[in-house]
Every structure is written in structure tokens, then in C-alpha cells.
């Protein structure tokens, strides 16, 4: 028996529906059909009336969740693709995110975003939206990289009193496997040292954690030990774990699958530069996708995003300085 990243997401939703009558799932095709990626397979049958098909109305889907959350429910909204959540941005950024601040009352809801690139998906089915959501105060933004985290962090997200943007990576859905679901978990707001090393720190999140681990393996063959820090949650960001790692290595590369202008990797570099300047033996660097829309053809796509090969090159440069 093995569990995929997608199985974990489905199982977490099933457990949340089981444990808390306030939880319901809302999204396009999530009901009988089980969702575009089957993340809600069989849940509608098991929980009648609580796994609800929505019209193609991202603004209203999020708006409805905000209202339901204000009324004490815990809606979990599935966007069919993270990219389409742009249509619901207003309700998430201006409504969900401001509710606690404005009213003192919580707005517990989860927005599930099938995120990130896969070959042949192109500009509108590949985006990573975490930086946009993280920029706005009032939201928690999670980017799980492992099967265990997909399960435990989604459960934590649903139980949280705040609106959570849950970025699940589509490339990990089917390929990433674990033996079983975890019995215990690291708290969602702690970053995790996915591989220990003393020569250079590579901070990554979501699918990039696996590229970074592969790059670390390659560098190990060349005699360098890379410490890979998996952010897990990008907002709030666990700066302490990042700084502790840089204190050990003196060198930093921050990797993000998203675009290079601003964003999570820029935030990591900025925090280390301003709060850990003395720890650094080399200029902190970033690696991101190219600054173009995400290409359709796999040949172009593979050159657009950071890969293990490009991460290894960047790490060598940081090490050479």
C-alpha cells in the first residue's frame, strides 16, 4: 500500500468532513464527478449535501465561502486550477483577508489551489500564485512539498481560524508517494530541514524542494554538502529556521518556481540580507522561472523553470564566490 500526494489531500478532506460538521467542500465538478483531479473522489456520496458543485463563478465561489465562514462554517473551496483563482482574487484579498482585522471575528476557510507547472499545460494551467496571496495581510499561505505535509497541513489549514491559501503542486499529485499517512506532524508554520549540510543553504518550497534535493545529491558527488530548507508555509515565513541554516553554511540560494520579480525567494533573500548580513560569506542568490508567461511545449517549459541542473549550477556559483 502506498499513498500519493493527491490521496493525502483527498484523505485530509475526508477526515475533516468526518470530524467537523462545519466543514463543507465547494468547487467546480467536485461533487459526484470527484473533481478535475479527483481530489474529492467519493466524498459527495459519503457526505451528502456537503460536497457541492459550484457554477463557473470564482468570484462568487470565494464570496460565498466568506459569507459561510462568517456564519460559522469551515468551507474548503477547490479552484479547478490555481490560475483561475485570479477571477476570485477580489473576494479573497479584499474580503476574506480583511474580515478578521475589520470585525474581530474569524473567517475560517481554505482555498485549495492546484498549482505549478506540468509539461504541456501552458500559460493558463501552470501558475504558482503564492506570492500574490502572501503579499496581502490576513492570509496564511501553505505550499506543502511532501505527502505527509499535504495531509497534515491541509488538516491544520481547515482547523485554523484564518483564511488559508493551500497551494498543492500538480506535478506531485500522482508521482509523489509515501508508505502511509502520517500519525503525527510538524506544525504547519515550521520550516523543515529536508537535508542537512554545512556548505550552502538552499531554501525551496513545493515542487522545488525535490529539484533542490536532486541538486544537493549531485553536488554531494562533487564534495559539497547542501542544506535544503523546505519552507512548507510561505506566510507566515519561518525566518528563524532559515537564519539558523545560513548561520551554519554562510551561503544562500533561494529557489522559487514562480517569476523573478518579487515573490517568496526575494522575501527570503531580503530577510537574510537584512537580519543575517553578518552570517553571509557570499552574496545571497535567487533562482526563479524566466520572466515570461509559462510555455506550453515541454522543451520550452523545461528551460523556463528552475530544475535540478540549474539549481546545481547556481549553487556552484554561490560556493565559488
Amino acid at each position: 500500500m502506498s499513498v500519493t500526494y493527491l490521496d493525502a489531500i483527498r484523505a485530509a478532506q475526508e477526515k475533516a468532513l468526518q470530524d467537523d460538521p462545519a466543514v463543507f467542500i465547494y468547487g467546480q465538478d467536485v461533487g459526484k464527478f470527484g473533481g478535475a483531479f479527483k481530489a474529492t473522489k467519493n466524498l459527495a456520496e459519503k457526505f451528502p449535501g456537503r460536497v457541492i458543485d459550484s457554477p463557473i463563478s470564482e468570484d462568487a465561489m470565494v464570496g460565498l465561502a466568506v459569507g459561510a465562514a462568517m456564519e460559522g462554517m469551515r468551507p474548503v473551496v477547490e479552484m479547478q486550477f490555481a490560475d483561475f483563482s485570479t477571477v476570485g482574487l477580489n473576494q479573497m484579498l479584499n474580503h476574506a483577508a480583511t474580515t478578521y482585522w475589520r470585525t474581530g471575528k474569524p473567517c475560517p476557510m481554505v482555498l485549495r489551489l492546484p498549482s505549478g507547472g506540468t509539461p504541456g499545460s501552458g500559460p493558463f494551467h501552470s501558475q504558482s500564485m503564492e506570492a500574490i496571496y502572501a503579499h496581502y495581510p490576513g492570509l496564511v499561505v501553505m505550499t506543502p512539498a511532501t505527502v505527509e505535509d499535504a495531509y497534515s497541513m491541509l488538516l491544520e489549514a481547515i482547523a485554523m481560524p484564518d483564511p488559508v491559501v493551500f497551494c498543492e503542486h500538480k506535478l506531485l499529485y500522482y508521482h509523489l508517494k509515501a508508505k502511509s499517512l502520517p500519525a503525527e506532524a510538524v506544525p504547519a508554520f515550521k520550516a523543515h530541514v529536508a537535508r542537512a549540510g554545512r556548505d550552502v543553504t538552499c531554501v525551496a518550497y513545493s515542487a522545488m524542494v525535490h529539484e533542490a534535493l536532486a541538486a544537493a545529491e549531485e553536488l554531494a558527488g562533487e564534495g559539497y554538502e547542501t542544506e535544503v530548507v523546505d519552507l512548507r508555509t510561505v506566510k507566515p515565513m519561518d525566518t528563524d529556521t532559515i537564519l539558523a541554516s545560513v548561520a551554519r553554511t554562510g551561503r544562500l540560494l533561494a529557489v522559487g518556481e514562480s517569476w523573478p520579480w518579487g515573490g517568496v525567494s526575494a522575501e527570503v533573500v531580503s530577510r537574510v540580507a537584512s537580519e543575517g548580513f553578518e552570517l553571509l560569506d557570499a552574496p545571497p542568490r535567487r533562482l526563479n522561472a524566466k520572466d515570461t508567461p509559462i510555455p506550453y511545449h515541454p522543451n520550452l517549459w523545461a528551460a523556463h523553470r528552475p530544475t535540478a541542473v540549474r539549481i546545481a549550477e547556481a549553487l556552484r556559483e554561490v560556493l565559488r564566490y
Binding site: 463563478s57 462568487a60 464570496g63 459569507g67 462568517m70 477580489n90 479584499n94 495581510p137 507566515p236
Partner: protein
């Protein structure tokens, strides 16, 4: 299915008439006061009034009862008061008192009180339709019975995607949602003909598969009847109701605006009548004008008292503010750092 722009056929009982009148009078008196405070530079932020729209707005407020939900917009002082929002909440918001419902974190027309079923609007027009639908969906899931949600929109707000998505989803879910459109002919300075190409917004009810009701928004009795009926239909399970009231706003978009772009002919037509005058004529014809005078005097005293008291209240203090945008308790230090 459609109720035309007819004359009122159902006469409000005395109690309803009093509730309508008081909500309208308190709103008008308070808003006149706010306008003069604005000119005196005593208001924090902008002032947007519902002058001329009190009848339509009040009709929504008084048709609701405890357990219902109201999502008011910028011209709904009367509806808020009719539904039971304390008048002092408004005064506190406008004068920036720390004791106000939003504690200085948000202002004036955005105030709300979830514990009373009043949603705090966000500025983005159309956004409250789906949020109100969400509250109603939640109430249904919690097995509450015979509740209604009412929200308003302007003619301009009907052009947003958010309005469309919200009303459509409410119709799909057959939620007890009443959307009252105050068609005052203008969105800020933009007239209807630059806003939409349909003849009458009411025609859209059919497209959404909801019941539609038209009303002369300058006639408080007609508003009471038509909005009341829409609320009743929603309560009985007939699904969303779209009410379109035709009227004019008898002021600028906000108090910074003179509203001179409003067509003079329209202004002198029946559509430009002041609903307060219409109310007074009705009350006079029934020999009840003294009642109206008494209620007005009470409203004036209430408003003067509130303004006087609130002026003494503390203002928000940045050093006392905890500057936290999330509700997470026992949050780690990382959380506070953001």
C-alpha cells in the same frame, strides 16, 4: 411572476407605518447632521448619503427580523436603522470613536456587526451578493428555518461580474436572498445609458430565473408593500427575489460632489420626488401628521445626544492597537513577524 410598477394595494398597518417612518426620519435627520459635520471638517473620511432613497432602504430593514441578515450598501442608513442597528454605531464610525463597531480599523459606511446579522460591506461593488448568499447557505446547512438575507445594489453595481455571479449562484442554490436594486439613474456621474443597454433592469430577473418586483422608490408605502412581499416570498421558499426601485438620489454621490450632472427634467419629474414629502402627504391625509412631527423631534434629540456623547469618546490609539491581521491564537513568533 412580475409585479409591475403599480400603486400600492396593501396598506401598511399602523405599527409598520411607524417603524418605516421612524427609520426614514432618523436616517434623514442623522444624515443631515453628518453632512453639516462634514462641512465643518469633523468627519473622518467621506460622507455618502441616502437622501431620497430612505423609503426603499427602510422597507428592507423593517421587513427583516431577528435571525435574518442584512448586507447594506452606502445609501442604506434607513435600512440599517430599520433593522435595528444602534444609531450610535453610525455616529461612532463617522466621528472616528474607538468604541465604534470597527474600532477605527474601517470606517463609516463599511461598518457592520456580525453578531446582529449586519455584514460589513467591502467597497468593491457587487461583492456582497455572493457573501450574503454564503451566509444563507450556511444557515441552511445549520438547519435554521425561515430566514432571509437582503442586500442592496445600485444601478451601476449591476454591471459588475460579481453581482452577476452572486445572483446566479443564489438562484442555482435557491437561497432566500432579496436583492434590492436602487436604480437612481446614475452611478456617480454615469447615467444608465452608459451603464447597460437593457430597457429595464427588472427584465433581468427572468434571465436569472428569479422573481422580479418593480416599485416606485419614491413612494414609501409602495416600497413597504413590494419589498415586504419579496421578503415574504423568499421566506416562504420561493428563492431569490430581485426588487428594482426607481428613484433619484437627492444629493451628490458623496458630500464632496454637487451632483449637477443629474438631469434637471428627471429631477423635476415624479422620479425626483422626495420620499419624505410623499410620506408626509400620506400621513397628513390620514390625519397623522402630528405623529410624524413627534417622531421627527425625537429623532433630532436622539441625534444631538449621540453626537454630543460620542464627541467625548476616545479615539483609536496606535499604541494600543495590536496590529494583527490574523486570528491565530498562541501563534509562534514567526507568525507575528509575518
Amino acid at each position: 411572476m412580475f409585479v409591475g410598477l403599480g400603486k400600492a394595494s396593501l396598506k401598511p398597518d399602523q405599527d409598520s407605518m411607524e417603524r418605516m417612518s421612524r427609520a426614514m426620519l432618523r436616517a434623514r435627520v442623522l444624515e443631515d447632521k453628518l453632512a453639516s459635520l462634514y462641512r465643518a471638517g469633523r468627519i473622518v473620511g467621506g460622507v455618502y448619503l441616502g437622501k431620497g432613497q430612505e423609503g426603499l432602504s427602510a422597507a428592507g430593514g423593517v421587513a427583516l427580523r431577528k435571525g435574518d441578515v442584512l448586507a447594506p450598501l452606502i445609501r442604506d442608513m434607513a435600512g440599517r436603522l430599520g433593522f435595528g442597528e444602534p444609531l450610535v454605531d453610525a455616529v461612532r464610525a463617522y466621528l472616528g470613536s474607538k468604541l465604534g463597531p470597527m474600532k477605527g480599523r474601517d470606517g463609516n459606511i463599511h461598518r457592520g456587526d456580525l453578531s446582529r446579522g449586519i455584514l460589513p460591506m467591502i467597497s468593491h461593488l457587487g461583492a456582497m451578493v455572493s457573501a450574503t448568499a454564503g451566509v444563507l447557505l450556511a444557515k441552511r446547512m445549520k438547519k435554521e428555518k425561515r430566514f432571509v438575507g437582503l442586500t442592496s445594489a445600485g444601478d451601476g453595481a449591476t454591471s459588475t461580474g460579481s453581482f452577476h455571479e452572486g445572483l446566479n449562484v443564489a438562484a442555482v442554490e435557491k437561497l432566500p436572498l432579496v436583492v434590492v436594486v436602487a436604480d437612481n439613474g446614475y452611478a456617480y456621474s454615469t447615467p444608465n445609458e452608459r451603464q447597460f443597454a437593457c430597457t429595464d433592469l427588472l427584465d433581468r430577473a427572468k434571465g436569472y430565473g428569479v422573481e422580479g418586483h418593480g416599485v416606485d422608490g419614491t413612494d414609501p408605502e409602495a416600497c413597504w408593500e413590494v419589498v415586504g412581499r419579496a421578503v415574504q416570498r423568499a421566506r416562504e421558499g420561493a428563492g431569490p427575489q430581485l426588487v428594482v426601485g426607481r428613484l433619484l438620489r437627492l444629493c451628490g454621490h458623496g458630500e464632496h460632489d454637487d451632483g449637477l450632472y443629474i438631469d434637471k427634467k428627471m429631477r423635476s419629474s415624479d422620479r425626483g420626488r422626495d420620499c419624505m414629502e410623499v410620506l408626509r402627504d400620506k400621513m397628513r391625509s390620514r390625519g397623522l401628521e402630528q405623529d410624524l412631527d413627534r417622531w421627527e423631534k425625537e429623532a433630532q434629540e436622539e441625534v444631538e445626544d449621540a453626537v454630543k456623547n460620542v464627541a467625548e469618546e476616545p479615539l483609536p490609539d496606535p499604541f494600543e492597537e495590536d496590529w494583527r491581521a490574523t486570528a491565530m491564537m498562541g501563534a509562534s513568533e514567526a507568525v507575528q513577524k509575518g
